[in-house]
Each structure stands twice: as structure tokens, then as C-alpha cells.
């Protein structure tokens, strides 16, 4: 058990370093899409919500899980779509407008 936790900690800490490396290179100009896009990625919790919602254990548990799936889906779908909407606006002179 402690081994499992330790392994998870390793993954967590290493992923944070990867995150720092990758995200430090994002220019200030793209900080808003970075926030909304990374935010959509944090909607990954949908994966946990889906398992819980499919389990059908008690009505309380399922009820909470459906709300969790809905919340996470808003996060994921809304986040990726709105990020795409923003990013398609970033154009350099000469590039096609729209």
C-alpha cells in the first residue's frame, strides 16, 4: 500500500516538473488560452466520475456521480471549445482573417 502511494507521489512530482518546463515557454500573449485549455485538461476528473456513475451502488452515490460527470463534462467540453474559439482568432498580418 505504502509502495503504491510512493509510486503515485513519484508520478505527481515528476509531472509537476514536466508542467513547469513546458508551461514556462508559453508566451504571455497566450496566457488566457493556456488557462482555459489547461483548465479543460483538469476536467480529466471526468474519468473518475464516469466510473462512479456507472457503478450504480446507492442512489445517493449515483446522484452525486451524475452531477460530477455533468460538472466535469462542462469543464472539458466548454474548456476545449472556448480555447479553440480564442486560438483561431490569433492571426498574423497577411494570414486570412477568419
Amino acid at each position: 500500500m505504502a509502495e503504491g502511494l510512493l509510486l503515485s507521489l513519484y508520478i505527481f512530482v515528476l509531472a509537476i516538473f514536466v508542467g513547469f518546463e513546458v508551461i514556462t515557454k508559453v508566451p504571455q500573449m497566450l496566457h488566457t488560452p493556456l488557462m482555459s485549455g489547461s483548465n479543460a485538461i483538469s476536467g480529466i476528473t471526468i474519468v473518475g466520475a464516469v466510473v462512479v456513475a456507472g457503478r450504480v451502488e446507492s442512489s445517493l452515490s449515483t446522484g452525486l456521480a451524475v452531477v460530477a460527470v455533468a460538472f466535469a463534462t462542462i469543464n472539458v467540453v466548454g474548456g476545449f471549445l472556448v480555447t479553440d474559439r480564442m486560438l483561431q482568432m490569433f492571426k498574423r498580418r497577411g494570414e486570412d482573417a477568419k
Binding site: 508566451p27 467540453v77 498580418r93
Partner: protein, 475 residues
């Protein structure tokens, strides 16, 4: 699914799911990496979305899932809301949108962890202490992200006051609530399952979220949103610890790191520590000052749109400096129109973007991109500042504290040390402003009283429209 098929799928499901999660994690990382340039950013976002789709589809194979109905229901509801929100939100409303999305992510993480606790309390699973500890962390961070984001949304949408809300003894009260909640969480980890106490903890976390954001004023929102962004990631990571799910841990950690970096950049851009932003209650009071006279009797010089248009039309170089005021009056399209007109006359036009201009990181860039401003004209503070010496006219549109020269030399000023755009070094600065009310920080702005500054009073959109007309007609 019949029994044979099910047992067949079961044998391979764990492996397929784990591999799919690995693919998803890789797609997230490459997707974020591609966000480092506007040219590749859009495809990066698509990669992130693909990773998410892969992860969700693989999860449907999970052996615990016996019915897909509730899953489909949840996805249908959330998906519809998500699509409508993403399609209808105005670019000026983006800070609110991001705040809401943060909240939903945090809320979902808290609910999933909560569900594990319900199972633990019902005796259907065994939860050793380390799992219980991560459940508590997940609920605490997730729930406070949820309620804190809703408050931030309310402030940005102006449903509640954007000013810092404070009362005497606030820090003591908050401190007691924080401390009490922490002790409660620690007790719950050590004790047997206790549903009522667990619910108390959840409610306390929600209250903390509200108390945490209420004392923070509107102009500090870039920091708050970045921090909540980070929290929503960390909450997802904690839920990953609870479920022993690596893709949650990785994705959550990436977002957590991203939010922390943005938070740091925002704090540095204001030369304030995170503690000061969170607990300093900046902008809770505004000192009222006279109409056009400064506190020590200095006066400002105003300018008509017609005169301003002549200055602009015959300038060699013009730098636009947008601030939150441009977002409020939704004047980005008029700015672009004026800029185009000037460019067609051979004027060199640039935009100077302060990192904390607006209500979230990168706010101004998105608005100007919406107005079809070429992104190579959007210049960051470090690059543009040396150019102000050679600039004929700097046009400040609804920015205030980020162009206050007092930050450079007045050690008594609350914003002393904050990096600013050196607008005062331009030959002439035209400041568009609705009135002489001080900016968010409640500080008088020296720039307005400088000899080379001209004030163009009125709504930014109307002033810009007038400028466009005069430039067209006058020459």
C-alpha cells in the same frame, strides 16, 4: 453485455485502459507544449481534447461499470451546457467563463472523492489512512475551488461588488475557520467513518472558498483566477491519489504547475507577494479626489477628439496601451479601426501589453486578437518600454495603475516597485478616461498631471469613434 463477452473484456480491460491513459497523458503534455507558439497552439488544443476523448472512451471499459445510462445522462447535460457556454460567451466575458470552468472542475473532483468516502462509510471499500488523507485533501481543495470560483465569477460579472470586502477581525475569524477545518480533516483521517462530520468538512471547505475570495478586489483577479486554476488541477491530482489513477495525477499536476507559474508571473508583475494579494485587501477603500485638480492643486490638461486626431494623424509612431477600461467599454474593434487608419497613413502602430492589464492573464491579447489585430503587433512590457522614448504618441485606453510613474520613484506609493509601462516617456501621452476617479488601487495617477499628458474624457468607444471620424475627415 453477456457474461462471456464481459469476462473476455475484463481480462484485457485493465491493460487497455492503462495504455489509453498513458497515451492521453502524452497527448496532454505535447498539447501544452504546442501552446508555446500561436502558430501551433490550435493544434495543441486539439491534441489535448483528443487525449481527453481517448481517456474517457477507455474508461467506459472499466470493469466496475454496470450501466451506462447515468454516464450518458451526465455527459449529455454537461456537454450541452459546455457547448452553449463556449459558443455564446463574449470575449470580454472570458475571465468569468474561465472562473466558472475552474469551479466546475474543482467541484467534480470534490464530488468524486466524496463518493469514495460514502462507499467507505457504507463499508463497501476499505480505505487505509493514506487514502482517507487524500480524500480529505481532494474534498477540501475541490470544494473551495468550486465556491471560490463562483464568488470570483460573481465579482467579475458584477453580481456582487468587485471591491475587496473586509470587516474588522476578518483575519482572526478566517484563521479560526481555516485552523478548525484543518483539525477536523486530520481527525477524520484518524477516526472511523463519520458521515455527519464529513459533511461538515465539505461545507466548511465551501465556506472557506467564499471567505478566501471575498476580501480580494477586482484588479487582483488575475492572481485569483490563476490560483484557482492551479487548485482545480491539484484537486484532480488528489482525486487521482484517491482512485490510484495515474492519468488524473499527471493531468492534474500539469494544470497545477501551470496555475502556479501564472500566479507567480501575475504577482511579479505587480511586485507583490502572493500573501499580500490574498490577504492585503488591496482596493478596499478609495480616496475621493477633486474633479480635475489633484490633491495638491495640480491640474490636468484635457484635449478634444479633434486635436487628438491631428496629433495622431501626423505622428510617426503610436503605441496603444489597453487596460481593463477597454474591455468594459468593448472598444477593441474601434482601437483596431483607428490603428488601421493610422497605418494606412504610414504611422507605425504597436500595442503595449502589461501582464496584469485586465482581469486575467492575457486578457488584452485575446480582446485585440478578436478585433483582428495581428499578434506580432502585441508587444510585451520588457520589449516595448525602451521604445517609448522614440514614440510620438502613446494612447492609454482605460489603463491606470499599470502606467502610473509613481511606481518607479515614489516610495510612499502603495504600488511602488511595480513594473509599469513607461508611457510618460513618450513625446505625448493621450489618456482616455471616463472621469478623474482614481483607478482600482485608489491611487492618484501622476501621469495625468504630467506636462506631456492630455486627457480625453469620455467613454473609450465613443472617443475612439470620434477620433476615427476626425482622422478620416481632417486630412
Amino acid at each position: 453485455m453477456n457474461d462471456v463477452a464481459r469476462s473476455g473484456a475484463l481480462a484485457f480491460a485493465p491493460l487497455i485502459i492503462e495504455i489509453a491513459y498513458l497515451v492521453a497523458a502524452v497527448l496532454f503534455i505535447i498539447g501544452l507544449k504546442r501552446l508555446s507558439s500561436p502558430a501551433t497552439a490550435r493544434s495543441g488544443n486539439v491534441m489535448g481534447a483528443t487525449g481527453m476523448l481517448v481517456a474517457v472512451l477507455a474508461t467506459l471499459l472499466h470493469w466496475d461499470i454496470v450501466s451506462w445510462w447515468w454516464i450518458v445522462a451526465g455527459i449529455a447535460i454537461g456537454g450541452t451546457i459546455g457547448v452553449v457556454m463556449a459558443r455564446t460567451v463574449k470575449m470580454t466575458g472570458m475571465p468569468q467563463m474561465v472562473a466558472l470552468l475552474n469551479g466546475f472542475g474543482g467541484g467534480a473532483s470534490a464530488l468524486v472523492a466524496g463518493d469514495e468516502y460514502i462507499r467507505f462509510a457504507a463499508g463497501s471499500i476499505d480505505a487505509p489512512m493514506n487514502v482517507q488523507a487524500t480524500i480529505m485533501l481532494s474534498v477540501l481543495i475541490g470544494a473551495l475551488t468550486f465556491s471560490g470560483s463562483l464568488v470570483a465569477f460573481g465579482k467579475l460579472q458584477e453580481l456582487i461588488t468587485g471591491r475587496a470586502v473586509t470587516y474588522p477581525g476578518q483575519k482572526v475569524v478566517n484563521g479560526l475557520i481555516f485552523g478548525g477545518t484543518f483539525l477536523l480533516a486530520a481527525y477524520l483521517v484518524a477516526a472511523d467513518a463519520n458521515m455527519p462530520l464529513y459533511l461538515t468538512l465539505s461545507v466548511a471547505a465551501l465556506v472557506i472558498g467564499v471567505l478566501f475570495v471575498m476580501p480580494i478586489g477586482g484588479a487582483d483577479m488575475p492572481v485569483v483566477i490563476s490560483l484557482l486554476n492551479s487548485f482545480s488541477g491539484i484537486a484532480a491530482s488528489m482525486t487521482g491519489f484517491v482512485l490510484g489513477n495515474n492519468v488524473l495525477i499527471i493531468a492534474g499536476a500539469l494544470v497545477g504547475a501551470s496555475g502556479i507559474i501564472l500566479t507567480k508571473i501575475m504577482c511579479d508583475a505587480m511586485n507583490r507577494s502572493l500573501t499580500n494579494v490574498l490577504f492585503g485587501a488591496f482596493g478596499s477603500n478609495v480616496t475621493a479626489i477633486g474633479d480635475t485638480a489633484g490633491a495638491d492643486g495640480r491640474s490636468v490638461r484635457d484635449i478634444t477628439a479633434e486635436d487628438a486626431s491631428i496629433l495622431l494623424a501626423y505622428a510617426r509612431s503610436v503605441v496603444f496601451v489597453p487596460g481593463y477600461g477597454m474591455a468594459v467599454s468593448q472598444a477593441q474593434h474601434q482601437v483596431r479601426e483607428l490603428a488601421d487608419l493610422l497605418q494606412s497613413r504610414g504611422v507605425e502602430v504597436k500595442y503595449a501589453i502589461h501582464p496584469v492589464a485586465g482581469r486575467m492573464p492575457g486578457h488584452m491579447n485575446v480582446l485585440l486578437a478578436e478585433a483582428n489585430v495581428s499578434y506580432d503587433q502585441l508587444i510585451e512590457m520588457e520589449q516595448i518600454n525602451p521604445e517609448f522614448d522614440r514614440t510620438d504618441v502613446a494612447v492609454v485606453i482605460g489603463a491606470n495603475d499599470v502606467v502610473n510613474p509613481a511606481a518607479r520613484h515614489d516610495t510612499a506609493s502603495p504600488i511602488y516597485g511595480m513594473p509599469i509601462l513607461d508611457v510618460d516617456r513618450a513625446k505625448t501621452a493621450i489618456v482616455m478616461k471616463r472621469s478623474m476617479n482614481p483607478g482600482f488601487a485608489g491611487i492618484e495617477n501622476e501621469l495625468f498631471f504630467a506636462d506631456n499628458t492630455r486627457m480625453l474624457f469620455g467613454d473609450a468607444k465613443k472617443s475612439l469613434t470620434a477620433l476615427v471620424q476626425h482622422v478620416k475627415a481632417g486630412v
